[in-house]
Amino acid sequence: MINRECGIFRTTYQADMSLYGVPLARITVAAFALFFALVFPFVVDHKHLVWANFAGISIVAAIGLNLLTGYTGQISIGHAAFMATGGYTAAIMTTRADVPFWVGLIAGGVFASAYGLIVGLPSVRVKGFYLAIATLAAQFITEWIINHVEWIGGGFQASIIVPPASLGPVRFDTELEKYYLVLALVVLAVVAGLNIARSRLGRAFVAIRDRDVAAEIIGVDIFRYKLLSFMISSFFAGVAGALYVYYVGTATIEAFQISRSIEILAMIIIGGLGSILGSIFGAVFVVVLPLALEDILEFFRGVLPVTDIDTFVSQLKLMVFGGLIMLFLMVEPEGLNRLWRNVKDYFRVWPFSY
């Protein structure tokens, strides 16, 4: 039976905070985990595995931004800057100091979170639109620094070639091996995100988001938690950036420009603010949609009345992307997560929906 929450009442705070709300959730989560670990990579072809990998990296970044924007209510239009910090840290450490992959990954996260702490400092004084603008400034300043400081970026519009990730004797060379690497990190990020959200930390974040003055009065140290939120969020972004660099094999600034920041924001808007599951939905949706659109239009090549189909596709992708952001904001501001809940609610009371 699907109507599974019937008769389960949470009588203690522990029960209310538990990771699995209902016993059945354990089974579904396990089923999904098994599916993605054992079935999915072997039934899809190489192209879709690449999609899955990009989506996975985006999930890590989106969860990070959702902790900051969705849970704590602090807007960041500069998240790609944190990704860039993580990515370049990993790239530089791997190529010049020859550190192992996992050190590069963690260092990327740590450096990004230190940088996030600095960028987050204005949040102590300003909020809302002003904070958005401050993070936007950080985005441009970071782009400029990477482009113009040769020690970091290797010169104007240059790129750093990074060897593929390896863990002990295992080298993550093929798409399938990279898939497992990404999957492992996605699982880690999801679990970490869920745990942060349901614990004392997450509740403090939500309190700040809902009403900062009230949060201060009930004893939440606002400055500390705002900066913590920035740090945690940029740690996720930094890890995602480092993972991206290891995955693609090069670190270039093109991957971390303002459009990427907006993309991550779009993921959490479309997926649902303040929801880890929503971040997953949103990231997959935003990554897969343009790729799928490309395939569909490729199918109609020759039929469409346009001469230059490649530019047409890239412009059309922009239109669909922008249009979807507006559509979601107008029609379903709580995002895909809400739609998913609606579907669940429908089946829970089915067939007695009145």
Binding site: I77, I141, A266, I269, L273, F321, G322, L324
Partner: protein, 294 residues
């Protein structure tokens, strides 16, 4: 000294034309408190419309500009009604994302309609630049300064002397009180979007002539933020001052220090300046001071 002066003059004219773009942002923010991240894209749309009317349909320039004005005003109405009114009362991120989404949409839409290649917007200005000893001012910059000043004078007259202008100011000051005095707030909102459409056309004409019309024209919209933060989000006079300061400082820093850092200071200095202002005086030089501490 000559070098400095020429940099300064160039920066100031540039700043004036930045202010032209920023005006569209401030007008909207002042009346409706909507944060418009799509100013650059609206300007780009206006530029595309003008070049399309001239190039594809063979209209004379004046008619093309007139028609674009009409269409952009209409666009403003539709946008306010269709997209932004449902956003009222939602968290600020919703508004920011909606206008960002609109910007992305327009960046895809305009090239699909009228082609991706860069188009010239010929204003039929004299080719000879204005020379004052060593200082050279291209005619399009002069035209830009002229248009900015003209628009400012028009807006000043509108806000100070006309009934609808005073209604906009009343709504900006206090929506509920304005409503109680019998002002239709929705009309005022539509009106300010129409004004933003007009400034978008003005910006599109000047910048389209300066750098050509294609989707990269929209990137100028991002230059607006240092200008408005510096001047204060809701101050029209502040926009001009902010524009002048940003234009002058980016040009002077670029002129003197670009050779040491490998160029590109133009894209760097305004944002550093903006961060400093945000730290010290978030409401800008002339903005309304809203003290809100946590």
């Amino acid at each position: 000294m000559d070098f400095f002066l020429s940099l300064l003059v160039k920066g100031l004219t540039l700043g004036c034309i930045y202010a032209l773009v920023a005006l569209g942002f401030v007008l909207i923010y002042k009346a409706t408190s909507v944060i418009n991240f799509a100013v650059g894209e609206m300007m780009m749309l206006a530029g595309f419309l003008i070049t399309a009317f001239v190039g594809l349909y063979g209209l004379p320039l004046a008619a093309a500009i007139g028609l674009s004005l009409l269409l952009m005003v209409l666009f403003g109405f539709v946008l306010e009604r269709g997209v932004l009114r449902p956003m009222i009362g939602r968290p600020v991120i919703g508004m920011i994302m909606a206008t960002l989404g609109l910007g992305i949409f327009l960046r895809g839409f305009a090239p699909v309609m009228w082609g991706v290649d860069k188009k010239n917007l010929d204003l039929m200005l004299p080719a000879q630049p204005l020379r004052l000893e060593s200082i050279v001012v291209p005619p399009v910059d002069l035209a830009g300064v002229g248009i900015t000043l003209f628009l400012l004078a028009c807006f000043a007259y509108f806000f100070q002397r006309t009934r609808s202008g005073i209604a906009v100011r009343a709504v900006a000051d206090d929506q509920q009180a304005a409503m109680a005095m019998g002002i239709r707030v929705s009309t005022v909102f539509a009106l300010s979007w129409a004004l933003a459409g007009i400034t978008a056309v003005a910006g599109g004409v000047v910048w389209g002539n300066k750098i050509g019309v294609d989707q990269y024209l929209s990137l100028l919209g991002l230059r607006v933020f240092p200008v408005v933060i510096l001047g204060g989000l809701d101050s029209i006079a502040g926009t001009i001052i902010g524009g002048l300061v940003v234009g002058a400082s980016e040009n002077i820093f670029g002129g003197y220090f670009d050779k040491y850092v490998g160029g590109g200071l133009k894209d760097f200095v305004p944002y550093v300046l903006m961060l400093l202002v945000l730290m010290v005086r978030p409401y800008g030089l002339f903005g309304r001071e809203v003290i809100e501490r946590v």
